[in-house]
C-alpha cells in the first residue's frame, strides 16, 4: 500500500454503514465552494472525508488520498453520487490491499464525469425542472385570486421533483459503490427521445392553455379576440427574441418602455 498507509482490517467491507450514510448527507454540499479553478474538487473531497478518515490512519495515507480527490472535477450534482460510490469502492479496495495502485482513480473519475453530466443536465436541468416548475406555476396562475388553492402549485412541484431527485441520489450512491452500471443505463433511458418529446409537447400545450385561461373568455361575437391575439403575439415575440440572443434584461426593459409609451398614449390592457 503506497504512502505508508496500512489496511485497517481484513474484513471484506472495511467501511461501516455510518460512514456511507455520512457521505450521502455530505453529498448535498458537493457544489459548495465551487470555483473556476477546480470546480467541484473541494466538494467531492469533503464528501469523502469520513471514508478517508476511516480507511487511512496515518498522516501520509490521508494526505495522499486527499490529493487524489482534490483534482479538478465537475459533473451533475445529483448523479455525482454514482462517482462518489465508485471512488469509495476503489479506496476501500486499496485500503484492504486488493488494489495496490490507486493512481488511476482521478482519471477514472474524469472519464465518468462528462457522460454523467450530460445525462443529468438533460434530464434534470433541461427537461424535468422547467416542466415541473411550469406545472406548478400553471396551478398558481389558474388560481390567481385563490392563493389557498394556488399553494398546491409549489407543493406539487417540490413533491414530484424531490421524489425523483432523492431516489436518484440514493440509487446512484449504492449503485456506484456496488459497481452496478445499470443505474446509469436506467437514467439514460429517461432521456429517451419519446419521453423528451412528450414532455415538450405537454409543456407547449400547458403554456398555450395557461395563457388562454389568463386572457379569459373571448365572449360573444369575438369581442375579446384582439386581446387574446395581443397576449399570444407578446408571448411568441418574447420566445422568438431569445433566439436572436436578446437577453431577458433587455426584453424586460423593452416591455417596460412599451408600457410607458402605451400608458402615456392612454392604452390600458385589462387582462
Amino acid at each position: 500500500v503506497d504512502g505508508g498507509s496500512k489496511a485497517v482490517d481484513d474484513r471484506k467491507s472495511v467501511l461501516r454503514k455510518w460512514e456511507l450514510f455520512k457521505v450521502v448527507c455530505r453529498a448535498f454540499f458537493i457544489q459548495n465552494l465551487w470555483s473556476f479553478e477546480r470546480m467541484q474538487a473541494y466538494g467531492f473531497l469533503y464528501c469523502l472525508l469520513p471514508v478517508i478518515k476511516r480507511l487511512y490512519t496515518d498522516r501520509e495515507g490521508r494526505a495522499s488520498a486527499c490529493r487524489r480527490h482534490l483534482e479538478a472535477f465537475n459533473t451533475h450534482p445529483y448523479l455525482a453520487s454514482f462517482i462518489l460510490g465508485v471512488s469509495i469502492a476503489r479506496e476501500e479496495s486499496h485500503a484492504r490491499g486488493d488494489e495496490p495502485d490507486v493512481s488511476q482513480v482521478p482519471s477514472v473519475k474524469s472519464s465518468m464525469m462528462g457522460p454523467i453530466a450530460g445525462v443529468g443536465d438533460n434530464l434534470f436541468w433541461v427537461s424535468l425542472r422547467p416542466f415541473l416548475a411550469l406545472l406548478g406555476v400553471s396551478v398558481v396562475l389558474l388560481n390567481w385570486d385563490a392563493p389557498q388553492y394556488g399553494l398546491l402549485g409549489p407543493m406539487v412541484f417540490l413533491a414530484l421533483y424531490n421524489l425523483l431527485h432523492l431516489y436518484v441520489r440514493w440509487v446512484c450512491m449504492v449503485g456506484g459503490y456496488r459497481g452496478d452500471i445499470k443505474v446509469v443505463e436506467r437514467l439514460r433511458s429517461l432521456n429517451h427521445l419519446r419521453i423528451v418529446r412528450a414532455l415538450r409537447v405537454t409543456s407547449y400545450l400547458l403554456v398555450g392553455a395557461v395563457a388562454a385561461l389568463k386572457v379569459g373568455t373571448v365572449g360573444a361575437g369575438g369581442r375579446g379576440l384582439p386581446k387574446a391575439a395581443l397576449a399570444f403575439a407578446l408571448m411568441v415575440s418574447i420566445a422568438a427574441a431569445s433566439r436572436i440572443k436578446a437577453t431577458p434584461a433587455k426584453m424586460m426593459a423593452l416591455v417596460s418602455l412599451l408600457c410607458l409609451a402605451g400608458g402615456y398614449l392612454g392604452w390600458v390592457a385589462s387582462f
Partner: protein, 272 residues
C-alpha cells in the same frame, strides 16, 4: 418595516443557499421562495404571485457547466420584502403598480447578485481551494471539513446582506414613484404587472426550445379559448393539468420500476 426587511432577508438568504451551495431541493426556486417569505411576512398570496412571475422569467436560466445565472431566489426575497414592508398599499389601487415596479427592480437586482456570485467563484472560492490544498498536503481532515462550513457561512452572509441592502435601497424610491405617479401612469403600471405573466410564459418557452413542436403552443391556446367560449374552461383546465401530472407520474414509474411506454418501447428508440 425594518423587521420585515430583516426577516425576509434572513430567510431569503438561507433559501438562496439551496441554489448551488447546499441541498438543491429547489426550495430556492421563486415558486417556493415567494410563498414562504410571503407567509412569514403575513401575505402568502402576494408572495405566490411574485414567485410565479419570477419563476417564469427565470425558468430559461440553467446552472450548467460554469454558468452563473441571475440569482432568482434573492430577487424573489427582495421583491416580496419590498411589497410587504408596508402593507398599507395592498388594499389600494396602487397595489399593481407597486408589484410591477418591485418585480422589475428585483429582476435586475437578481442579475447583479448573479454577477457577485460569479465573482465569489473566481476569487473567494479559489482562496478557499488554496487553503484546502494546503490542508490536504498535511492530511488535516478536520480543518478540511471546517472549510465547508466557513464557505457556507460566508455565502449566507453575502446573500443576507445583499438582500437586506437591496430591499432597503429599493423600498423608498419605489414607494416614492408609486405615490407620485401621474394619473396616466397608473394604468401603465397596472398593465405592466398584468402582462408580466405573459412575458414570463414567453421566457419559459426558451427552456423548451423552438422547433416544429412549437406548433402545439397555438393548439393549446386556441383549444382552450374555444372551450372557454363554450363556457367549459373547467374541462380545459382539467385536461391540461391531468395530462401534465400523468406524464410526471409516468416518468417516475419508468425510472423506479423500469416500465416502458408504450410496452416494448425500447424497440422504437430513435424513432421520434
Amino acid at each position: 418595516m425594518l423587521k420585515e426587511a430583516l426577516m425576509g432577508s434572513l430567510v431569503g438568504g438561507a433559501l438562496a443557499l439551496d441554489t448551488e451551495a447546499a441541498f438543491q431541493f429547489m426550495i430556492s426556486r421563486p415558486l417556493v421562495c415567494g410563498p414562504v417569505i410571503g407567509l412569514l411576512l403575513g401575505d402568502v398570496g402576494t408572495g405566490l404571485a411574485i414567485g410565479a412571475i419570477l419563476e417564469l422569467l427565470n425558468s430559461g436560466n440553467l446552472l450548467v457547466g460554469g454558468r452563473t445565472p441571475p440569482d432568482a431566489s434573492l430577487a424573489t426575497a427582495v421583491a416580496t420584502s419590498i411589497v410587504l414592508m408596508d402593507k398599507s398599499y395592498l388594499g389600494s389601487d396602487a397595489k399593481n403598480s407597486l408589484l410591477g415596479l418591485s418585480i422589475i427592480y428585483s429582476f435586475y437586482m437578481g442579475i447583479l447578485a448573479g454577477r457577485l456570485e460569479h465573482l465569489f467563484k473566481t476569487k473567494v472560492n479559489v482562496w478557499f481551494l488554496r487553503r484546502a490544498r494546503s490542508y490536504a498536503e498535511d492530511g488535516r481532515l478536520s480543518e478540511l471539513a471546517r472549510l465547508n462550513w466557513e464557505g457556507l457561512g460566508l455565502r449566507y452572509f453575502k446573500n443576507f446582506s445583499l438582500a437586506f441592502v437591496s430591499a432597503l435601497v429599493g423600498f423608498y424610491p419605489i414607494r416614492a414613484v408609486v405615490s407620485l405617479m401621474p394619473p396616466w401612469s397608473e394604468g401603465l403600471w397596472r398593465s405592466l404587472y398584468l402582462i408580466l405573466p405573459f412575458v414570463g410564459l414567453g421566457s419559459a418557452l426558451k427552456a423548451f426550445g423552438m422547433d416544429r413542436l412549437f406548433w402545439f403552443l397555438p393548439v393549446g391556446f386556441t383549444a382552450t379559448l374555444f372551450l372557454g367560449s363554450l363556457g367549459r374552461m373547467d374541462i380545459a383546465t382539467t385536461i391540461i393539468l391531468a395530462s401534465a401530472a400523468g406524464l410526471s407520474a409516468l416518468l417516475l414509474l419508468r425510472f423506479t420500476f423500469g416500465l416502458t411506454f408504450p410496452p416494448g418501447g425500447r424497440r422504437q428508440q430513435g424513432g421520434g
